[in-house]
Point group: C2
């Protein structure tokens, strides 16, 4: 045998990517998108104070970032009124999900999630050889009770719930989440991904209880704080679990500029509130555009809207492709029956005007395709 000796697990994995990036699509089509409303990024951008902090930090980037993320963790602790030692900052929620899976999952260990939920989590589970067991959505929402019941049935070590959900934008009230947590089987960790929580109504997030070692929660600066490209996420959980990340994490993995930006962004809660308001307006406009075209927008507690296109996945895919061909970057859910929808991120009025302009033709093309098929 020649060449490196990969692990059996590494040999068995496909070279895959959870999402194709919009830049890849732009290179393929030979020009940039006119509206970038497909990746649930925040077109409203970060706080001006965060932009200034990042610009100011650029000249100091010759220094490694603080591996303890001390100042950001201290600010998060004060913000959430929880102790410092219950917070782990990482290179985006994606990296934290990878670390968490690595801490818990050996090949063959069971992990439960919803069919069609966050693909990057699934990528990490597969990457450590975990056995992913899925539960269907119920009424276009993740089903907390079914998730924990399945976890008990298969002896899962980890069960994933996003609240609010991506890609459907649906959500559960805190009491429903808490009821599910009460039913988490012993030895199973409940992973509550709250990437979109800042957009959700009051009463969506359970109060923090960092003494509860059955739960870990993930938050991010990528969505409401408008800093997806900075890669700053954080986990909140029991101190023992938070400390366990130190066994394996890339201690010097955080970008120093991103640390400075997140700290400034957190302090500008007024700006955050303005983004949440702008997103609410954008959601209404997306719903209006959907209705105008005879489509149904689903309720949303996030910075995006799932639009039911009223047909099957092939039809929705044709609509997505029609929009992309017209310079409007959107995506769609992966699993049936949610893949009858397209997913449109909140945009500025100009972005949504382009969406509104492109949608009728994209729909007409999709209908023509469907008639031919």
């Amino acid at each position: 045998m020649s060449g490196p000796r990969y692990t059996k697990l590494a040999q068995s994995l496909p070279a895959s990517v959870p999402f194709v990036g919009p830049e890849t699509q732009e290179r393929a089509r030979g020009r940039p998108f006119d509206a970038r409303i497909g990746a649930n990024e925040s077109v409203f951008g970060p706080s001006p104070l965060a932009i200034k902090a990042m610009s100011d930090a650029a000249a100091d980037v010759w220094k490694y970032g603080d591996p303890e993320n001390h100042d950001l963790r201290a600010a998060l602790a004060a913000h959430h009124k929880i102790p410092f030692e219950n917070i782990m900052v990482g290179e985006g929620v994606d990296a934290l999900l990878g670390y968490l899976v690595r801490l818990l999952i050996n090949p063959g260990d069971r992990v439960v999630t919803s069919a069609g939920a966050y693909p990057t989590f699934n990528f990490h589970v597969a990457g450590y050889g975990g056995d992913l067991v899925t539960v269907p959505y119920r009424d276009d929402a993740e089903d907390p009770v079914a998730l924990v019941e399945k976890a008990a049935e298969v002896g899962a070590k980890l069960v994933y719930l996003a609240n609010p959900d991506n890609p459907m934008a649906s959500w559960h009230q805190a009491k429903a989440v808490q009821a599910a947590i009460e039913r988490v089987p012993e030895g199973c960790l409940f992973l509550l991904d709250e990437a979109y929580i800042e957009f959700a109504p009051d009463g969506t997030a359970p109060p923090f209880d960092v003494s509860d070692d059955r739960v870990i929660r993930m938050r991010t600066f990528s969505k409401a704080y408008g800093m997806a490209g900075a890669r700053v996420g954080y986990a909140i959980g029991h101190a023992d679990l938070i400390s366990a990340f130190n066994k394996i994490r890339n201690h010097f993995g955080m970008c120093r500029i991103s640390q400075a930006g997140a700290l400034a962004a957190l302090k500008d809660q007024d700006y955050l509130a303005s983004v949440v308001a702008s997103v609410a307006t954008a959601r209404m406009e997306i719903s209006r555009i959907a209705s105008e075209n005879g489509l149904t927008a689903l309720p949303s507690a996030t910075n995006f809207v799932a639009i039911d296109c009223g047909h099957d996945a092939d039809f929705a895919r044709a609509v997505v492709n029609g929009l992309i061909a017209r310079g409007v970057f959107v995506r769609m859910p992966f699993a049936p029956p949610q893949d009858r929808c397209i997913r449109v991120s909140a945009g500025k009025p100009d972005d949504l005007a382009k969406f509104a302009a492109a949608l009728p033709d994209a729909l007409a093309d999709a209908l023509a395709d469907a008639r031919l098929a």
Copy 2:
């Protein structure tokens, strides 16, 4: 049992950190360092063009970075005159080392390195359960032939050589490295860490041969390019090996601002040359200060100098602590007999003046300690 069910490997690992960050030390001492010349960061900073690119990119950080790192990889391919598909960009060499170990190493698999070489590599090997086998330095340099002989003896899957070396700053000519590569046993990958290569004399780096699946090379923007806090490293190797990273890497892990900064930094080779010249001047000044204090500076092909303090590790540690107490952040090698040295990074004249001012007293204190002991 209550709480999460960690893997046996995760349970067995200590919560450790390869390096204590200078910020941690600053918090402990209650005030910042006057000279930060301990982590081989580049006090000369990044290119002004890179600083501008990063400042300009801050407002766009609401977008995720391109997961393919297309533009940076294309620029690196042109710069090194190698194909695009032979380059993998990652969140610093540290992250790439972690991915590489994950691809190859199962618990119990053997990995060979030098006793006292880069601790973060060892952290990753331990983190995946690898069995680390060490070879001593020879004449304060890593010993390429002994490394590959040991790899053959123990059936290692991976053997690590940094050229130039950290922490000793020693180096081998390309032909010595190539001779070692020719003797790499079948099924063993030679990991050539060239983090400091830009500071080394011509003839230190072997020519690239990306058809050779026995070798992977690591380069970084953290050292000569002055962007340690940005977390941008890259690996060069056989296309199959480079592609294998896509099975497991955090595809959206790169900071978008860092991508922009690295691209601009790479284009400013004049600035890079000026940094290399400034570092050469600083090395001479560090050597002069060492001599002035009766100490011996070792030859260096890096942006730091190992200074032989002429006694044992306890003495060197006392010197390091004496310098730190006087506001000068330096570090020292971890393993005997190299731990008789302290390691001083290149500084600006003002940094080195502070080092020169603090060293005599730090030495006097260390000598007094040694007499008392």
